[in-house]
């Protein structure tokens, strides 16, 4: 074809490039593609952006991945690696080159695995294997913890250290199993179904971090079903926080990591137990002290009652009565005595009035014989010696004839 010498449209390089760019960017397919190829010319300058060429046997595609996307990459890129890259096609106008602006890279097969994951997930979900009402509570204070994991991995060491720190009273039963590769799923199922393990209080199914292929055994239908069918509650701690496996969905409890699974299996720690014991101990003390105090109070109230009914009071009142009676007896006796006394006084007065001594006071005398004391009232009776009694005494006289 002959070039048109006098075109109506004049193009500059910039305008033409811009035009091409618009064409590409308006194409929906080119703005959202997964491209498979082998990485070559990988370059990671200090800027943090990643540049490489994706190629296959007959073509090559320039690729760039900006720093923000590159920092989120789950895999380490290498030349020669077969990958699937997601992104949009654009134009680098400075060199007039079209290239893939990549935002995600995954290893080949990962995409297919993810499809399989989604298929299995919706199937098992439809069966009700992941239903919330199937979830059983994890015992707060287990005696036996079953662990299904690799006997040699860091995951086991982390879990044992965690259990040792949190609840060394527990007995751990390990059912070792390979956790990746084709032999892993049947071995994991056998370990989960082991009668010895099924006699524990809770089972931890665990594996350390890895790529989606590494964790794939935990998406295996047989393993997922064995988790769901376990007679003992299962805690699943596979990979890292961001990894979700179907075993996680089927388990009674999902833990973000193996260490977290060991923590979730020991809700009550030895520190809690020690606190419980010391709390019980102080309750024991105060209950006993209260009891003794109660008994003391009861005793002192009994004492008060006893005092109230004591014969002491009776005795006191009897005393008073006796005193009363004594006082009355005394006063009546006194009165009587006074009467008697007055009577005697009167009698005495009368007696005195009759007394011969009163005659003596008027100047008479009584003469008695000294020898026989008889009264001399006639002369013939006079003797030699006689006594003469006058009012204030007596004297002797001699009779002279």
């Amino acid at each position: 074809m002959q070039p048109t010498l006098f075109s109506t449209q004049q193009w500059t390089v910039s305008r033409l490039t811009f035009y091409i760019r618009k064409l590409l960017e308006e194409n929906e397919i080119l703005q959202d593609v997964w491209v498979q190829g082998e990485i070559s010319n990988l370059s990671r300058p200090a800027s943090g952006h990643v540049y490489f060429t994706l190629k296959d046997s007959s073509a090559a595609l320039k690729c760039v991945m900006w720093k923000t996307s590159a920092s989120r990459l789950g895999i380490a890129l290498q030349d020669g690696m077969e990958v699937e890259v997601h992104g949009r096609i654009g134009i680098y106008e400075v060199s007039g080159q079209y290239q893939l602006y990549a935002d995600q890279i995954r290893s080949v097969g990962e995409g297919a695995l993810y499809q399989e994951f989604l298929r299995l997930k919706s199937m098992l979900e439809a069966e009700g294997l992941f239903a919330p009402e199937r979830k059983r509570p994890i015992p707060a204070f287990p005696h036996k913890i079953g662990i299904v994991t690799s006997a040699t991995g860091a995951a086991l060491r982390d879990m044992l250290n965690t259990l040792r720190r949190r609840l060394p009273l527990v007995e751990v039963i390990l059912a070792p199993s390979p956790v990746q590769g084709t032999e892993a799923p049947p071995a994991l199922v056998k370990a989960l179904q082991s009668p010895i393990l099924q006699s524990s209080d809770v089972i931890i199914l665990a594996r350390g971090g890895g790529s989606i292929e590494d964790l794939w055994a935990f998406n295996d239908e047989r393993v997922v079903r064995a988790v769901a069918m376990s007679a003992v509650p299962v805690i699943c701690g596979v990979g890292h926080e961001t990894d979700f496996t179907l075993s996680d969905f089927a388990a009674d409890l999902r833990a973000p990591t193996p260490t977290a699974a060991a923590e979730l299996a020991t809700q009550i720690t030895i520190q809690d137990l020690a606190a419980t014991v010391s709390n019980l101990q102080s309750r024991l003390f105060s209950a006993t002290l209260n009891l003794v105090a109660e008994k003391k109070t009861a005793l002192s109230s009994l004492r008060a009652q006893l005092r109230y009914v004591s014969p002491d009071r009776r005795i006191q009142s009897e005393h008073q009565r006796v005193d009363d009676l004594a006082r009355r007896a005394f006063s009546s006796l006194y009165h009587h005595t006074q009467l008697q006394f007055a009577h005697v006084k009167g009698m005495q007065k009368r007696l005195e009035a009759l007394s011969p001594l009163a005659v003596l006071a008027r100047g008479y005398a009584v003469v008695t014989r000294k020898d026989d004391g008889s009264v001399v009232s006639r002369v013939a009776q006079a003797s030699d010696e006689m006594k003469v009694r006058v009012s204030d005494g007596e004297f002797e006289v001699k009779h002279s004839r």
Binding site: R157, I173, V277, L280, V292
Partner: protein, 83 residues
């Protein structure tokens, strides 16, 4: 606490597991807190409670994680790799 159950559970303290000791301690504390006991009986309960609490403490102090391994139908001690 009724006398019969005290007697029934009265195993030698040093033979009790942590759970047994704790359960009996709890029982004794609530008996002391809620029931009217003879003083002499209460003092006995208190002394047993003290011994049980000490037993729990000893068991907690001495607790060592036991790790066993399933080997076929058997259980063997599990040897941890030393770091």
């Amino acid at each position: 606490m009724p006398k019969s159950s005290t007697q029934k559970t009265e195993k030698a303290i040093e033979e009790l597991s942590y759970e047994e000791a704790l359960a009996e301690l709890e029982e004794i504390v609530s008996a002391l807190e809620s029931e009217q006991n003879q003083l002499e009986e209460s003092i006995k309960l208190f002394e047993r409670g003290q011994a049980l609490a000490a037993r729990c403490g000893v068991l907690l102090e001495a607790a060592q994680l036991k790790v066993k391994q399933v080997a076929g139908d058997d259980v063997l001690p599990f040897e941890e790799e030393s770091e």
